[in-house]
């Protein structure tokens, strides 16, 4: 066996630029939209005939960028031609469609293979992509990579940047930062990106979503005998998990000689094939054109967000409107339209902590005020969608959505606002705004400390006690969140894992205690904006706008939370 612990992939000299868009509003600290900046940089590279991959963080960003880049090229080409032979719009558009491509998960395999071919043969000069082009696709000959936003981990950053210069030629990587705290942190500390080792993968092997399918696989390999202890699990938990599966038909009990027996898997289906690497699986939605041809696939949980009636579902920048969604049949009927807007579904995550650290009492009441870890019940509603104009990103309309809610259980950590804060900040609105800003900062600091993607965690603020329903904040949210928090008066900050069943991230952040809060406070106080900005205190929310959350309030709350954590740590250590 040989350990390969060094990068041996072919690579020429690489120049790495980090672009931080300029601040457009000094008081709010809002920076230029990083998608627009990425568009300009990529178009400049395209004009210079530099073959470029533009990596985006979301599928929507890929579609937007593809559309914008094609528009830019088409405008220029038809402009050039207009000078010589008179305008030729359709040809220009065709040229742009060949040279500029979009690539993401959800496209049909044939389309993806076709784009990969166009890339290899040099027909496509610019490709906007999600992480779908990051791994496992053979592409060489690219000269530049544009990263629209920090990819979330150093591993992904280097992997994506390494897509250019594979033939040993000099290459360029440009990372355009967004206003998110993580991006801004990376921008402020170059050593974070360049001088540190890449992240470790983290998985919680005791997560039932991970554990149970693996136990089925193990039982198929060899029967699990009565009293057997699976390695790393212990006899008691083995019995528990095996019994759970047997009760649901996942395993079959087979009596043997005497009183012994074994749990086995019957039937020829392979349980290994049913283990989804990236989480629990429901059947995907198919996107069908009027002729009944499948155009794309959409993951089950993304269906309500992207395929509600009235949604614009773009494929390589070409807009399709969803006419009808057959929920049970998992089919969306779409038709090509000429839309000057795209749609964004408004999703509301409601979170409730349903279990505290009291482990042994199944009848346990929802936890009272305080801090701890537990289980969270998350319900996602998608009540409406917004229409956003292309180019300007103005909101130009709303529409309702009537689709089933999505529910999941995951692990959570929560921190109640200590009583002294209630005395110090008697105005519930001010408290609520400070809690929202704290939650935002804590989530981003946790992602940094745990070396996970910011998207792997979510933050929420509940009111009154952790067992009450609260709104999870994932970017945008409405004023009703504030109303609930105000009514409750005692906000609780909740961090939850995004994965069903949890990956142990939020709990891990909780167990870091004072160290965790030291980092959060450093992030908030270290920002060089005036009174707090989207980077250190979260996106401009209704709460913040209405009540004018101040950095000093946020720091006060964080310090109080840190004191509570320090007291708990002191108790655990016992008297010195």
């Amino acid at each position: 066996m040989v350990v390969v612990d060094r990068d041996t992939s072919p690579c020429g000299p690489r120049r790495f630029l980090v672009v931080n868009p300029k601040v457009v509003d000094a008081t709010t600290g809002v920076r230029r939209d990083y998608i627009k900046v990425s568009r300009e940089i990529t178009t400049t590279l395209r004009r210079a005939e530099v073959s470029t991959l533009a990596f985006c963080r979301t599928r929507r960003a890929v579609e937007l960028l593809t559309r914008y880049l094609r528009d830019d090229e088409a405008r220029e080409v038809s402009g050039r031609r207009a000078g010589a032979h008179g305008g030729d719009g359709p040809t220009a558009l065709r040229t742009a469609r060949t040279a500029i491509r979009g690539y993401r998960g959800g496209y049909l395999p044939e389309r993806r293979r076709e784009i990969e071919r166009a890339l290899r043969e040099g027909e496509a000069r610019v490709v906007a992509s999600t992480n779908a082009l990051e791994l496992g696709v053979d592409i060489g000959g690219m000269d530049a990579v544009v990263l629209a936003g920090y990819p979330g981990t150093r591993a992904a950053t280097w992997q994506r940047a390494g897509r250019a210069g594979r033939r040993g030629q000099p290459s360029l990587a440009v990372m355009v930062l967004s206003s998110s705290p993580l991006d801004q942190f990376v921008g402020a500390s170059p050593d974070f990106l360049f001088d540190r080792a890449i992240e470790q993968a983290r998985v919680d092997p005791d997560n039932p979503e991970v554990l149970l399918p693996h136990i089925r696989c193990a039982a198929q390999e060899l029967p699990i005998m009565d009293g057997e202890a699976l390695p790393g699990l212990g006899a008691e938990d083995t019995e528990l998990a095996v019994g759970y599966l047997a009760g649901r038909g996942g395993l079959h009990y087979e009596p043997g000689p005497g009183d012994t027996g074994a749990h086995v898997v019957l039937g020829g289906d392979s349980p290994a094939e049913q283990v989804a690497i990236r989480g629990a699986m429901e059947e995907n939605f198919s996107v069908l054109d009027p002729a009944g041809e499948v155009l794309a696939q959409v993951d089950f949980e993304d269906g309500p967000l992207y395929l509600h009636p009235g949604a614009i579902y773009p494929i390589e920048g070409t807009p399709y409107e969803v006419r009808e969604l057959d929920w049970d049949g998992r089919k969306a009927s779409v038709r090509k339209v000429n839309a000057s807007y795209y749609t964004v579904a408004v999703s509301k995550l409601r979170v409730r902590v349903v279990d505290a650290t009291e482990e042994d009492d199944p009848e346990a009441q929802p936890p009272e005020w305080g801090a701890g870890t537990g289980y969270a019940h998350v319900v996602r509603k998608v009540p409406a969608f917004k229409k956003i104009r292309l180019g300007t990103h103005d909101n130009i309309g709303f529409g309702p959505i009537n689709l089933p809610d999505l529910e999941l259980h995951t692990t959570a950590a929560y921190w109640g606002m200590p009583p002294e804060i209630l005395r110090e900040m008697p105005d519930p609105g001010r408290r609520a705004a400070a809690a929202l800003a704290c939650a935002h900062a804590m989530r981003h600091a946790a992602a940094l400390l745990l070396m996970c993607d910011v998207g792997d965690l979510r933050h929420a603020v509940t009111s009154g006690h952790p067992g009450a329903w609260g709104i999870a904040l994932d970017g945008g949210h409405g004023p009703d969140a504030l109303a609930e928090i105000e009514a409750g008066g005692v906000p609780h900050i909740v961090l939850i894992d995004r994965n069903p069943g949890g990956a142990g991230l939020a709990v891990h952040a909780f167990t870091m205690g004072t160290m965790f809060f030291d980092r959060v406070i450093a992030v908030v106080t270290g920002c060089d904006c005036g009174q707090g900005c989207p980077t250190c205190m979260g996106p401009s929310t209704e709460a913040a706008e209405q009540y004018g959350v101040e950095r000093s309030d946020v720091v006060t709350v964080l310090r109080a939370l840190r004191r509570t954590a320090a007291a708990t740590e002191g108790e655990q250590r016992g008297p010195a």
Binding site: P208, E359, L408, H409
Partner: protein, 432 residues
């Protein structure tokens, strides 16, 4: 947080799907009676059956197998050893007459050999006397007993296999034996670093393919029995059906399933015993092919096993025909194949002139034959040092090698180039 709490709060949506009901039984099962569902076996969870089958005298075969094997000629121990030595490369010292070969075949609950495949029915046979075959069969009655069954199989076979005996199987090199070994290691009967039941192995699929490829719809054991051994299985079960029946038996061992298991057991018994007859027949056909195509293929088999004299001996009638046919014509495939094979054998033995004669004969029979023209041109250029003749032969190929032709043209310069027909007919004659 304890596992109990996490399980208690697991979202319903993520629950393991209830195991899908398997396909309905192949035929309507009789009414289930409670008593029949109790497992018919003892504590071990598997049963072991044995039967002795005399070879030669068909009337003395036991009733259990007589009908199934009707029309099948089973070889004696020495005849089988001869056949195996002919079919595969054997240990230098040959097979030990005291330790006869072991025929083996597995029926499993998965065809792809993936992790879910359990070893369910195992049949093995060996000679206990020169004229008597002993057949042993293990059948699993409980999934949890696979380890015990494999341990018993291992104990039985361990002493029977060694460096001077052989396993005989059909496709066992890639399926049965690796699976058997993998499961034995999985059940900790052996350590992962060990290599259980190691012995020479004659996988009859390979010589059968060499001999009979394209000469029937496929090269499956049942097809070969029907076409080459003139034996027809009545009411046999197919491979995919075996998987289905075995799962049914393990899931719900009632009377109907027991009848299904019996079918699989019979299928396995016929498979194992007919292996001996198949080896015997292949051996005879290698020595005495039924037609020219089979003769050429038999020669190729010997060539592959590095038995050149045997290959050349088989080729002789075909080579004589090639030498006689001085003009191009139809029906050339077999003699031409023989010529090319013989040329290859002679070239490797260093008899280059003889090889060149065969190539020339092929060129004469099939003008432009790429392989023969290429080989003959190479010989003329480098061994015979006759660039002009080489140029004539190289250029006349249907796919001439540009570089060779250019090089030869330079060597020949403006010298005369003989007609290719002349070169070929000269070299096709025995040299004086």
């Amino acid at each position: 947080m304890s596992l109990a709490r996490r399980l208690a709060h697991r979202a319903d949506a993520g629950e393991p799907k209830k195991k899908k009901l398997r396909k309905p039984p192949l035929r309507k099962p009789p009414l289930r009676n409670k008593a029949a569902r109790t497992r018919p076996t003892g504590q071990e969870g598997f049963v072991r059956d044995a039967v002795d089958v005399p070879v030669g005298a068909r009337q003395r075969r036991p009733a259990a197998v007589a009908k199934d094997l009707a029309g099948l000629e089973l070889p004696t121990a020495p005849a089988l050893a001869d056949a195996l030595a002919d079919l595969a490369v054997m240990p230098r010292a040959g097979l030990d007459p005291e330790v006869p070969a072991v025929m083996i075949d597995l029926e499993t609950t998965g065809l792809m050999g993936q992790s879910g495949a359990l070893v369910c029915v195992v049949g093995a046979a060996w000679h206990v006397a020169p004229d008597c075959l002993h057949f042993e069969q293990w059948s699993l009655h409980r999934v949890g007993a696979e380890g015990a069954m494999l341990a018993d199989i291992d104990a039985t076979l361990r002493d029977r296999v060694g460096p001077r005996t052989s396993f005989v199987s059909f496709n066992g090199a890639s399926f049965d034996l690796p699976l058997l070994r993998r499961r034995m290691i999985r059940h900790a009967i052996y350590r992962a670093t060990e290599d259980p039941l190691r012995a020479p192995h004659v996988d009859l699929l390979h010589p059968a393919r060499r001999l009979w490829r394209d000469r029937g719809p496929d090269c499956r054991l049942g097809t070969l029995e029907a076409r080459q051994l003139a034996m027809h299985r009545e009411g046999d079960v197919g491979g995919a059906e075996v998987v289905e029946l075995l799962w049914r038996w393990l899931e719900e061992p009632d009377e109907a399933a027991a009848a299904d298991l019996a079918k699989v057991q019979r299928h396995n018994r016929i498979d194992v015993l007919s292996l001996t007859a198949l080896a015997h027949t292949m051996h005879r056909r290698l020595a005495d092919p039924v037609d020219d195509v089979e003769r050429l293929r038999a020669a190729r088999h010997h060539h592959r096993l590095e038995r050149m004299p045997a290959a050349v001996a088989l080729l002789e009638p075909l080579l004589a025909r090639l030498a006689r046919s001085t003009t191009p014509g139809k029906g050339w495939e077999t003699p031409v194949g023989a010529g090319l094979l013989a040329a290859e054998i002679e070239r490797r033995a260093g008899r280059h002139d003889l090889a060149a004669r065969y190539w020339a004969q092929v060129c004469r029979r099939v003008p432009g034959h790429p392989e023969a023209h290429e080989a003959l041109a190479k010989h003329l250029e480098h061994k015979a040092r006759a660039p002009a003749a080489a140029l004539a032969v190289a250029s006349a190929s249907v796919t001439p090698c540009e570089r060779r032709v250019a090089r030869l043209r330079k060597k020949v310069a403006d010298g005369p180039v003989p007609p290719v027909v002349e070169v070929v007919s000269t070299w096709a004659q025995p040299r004086v």
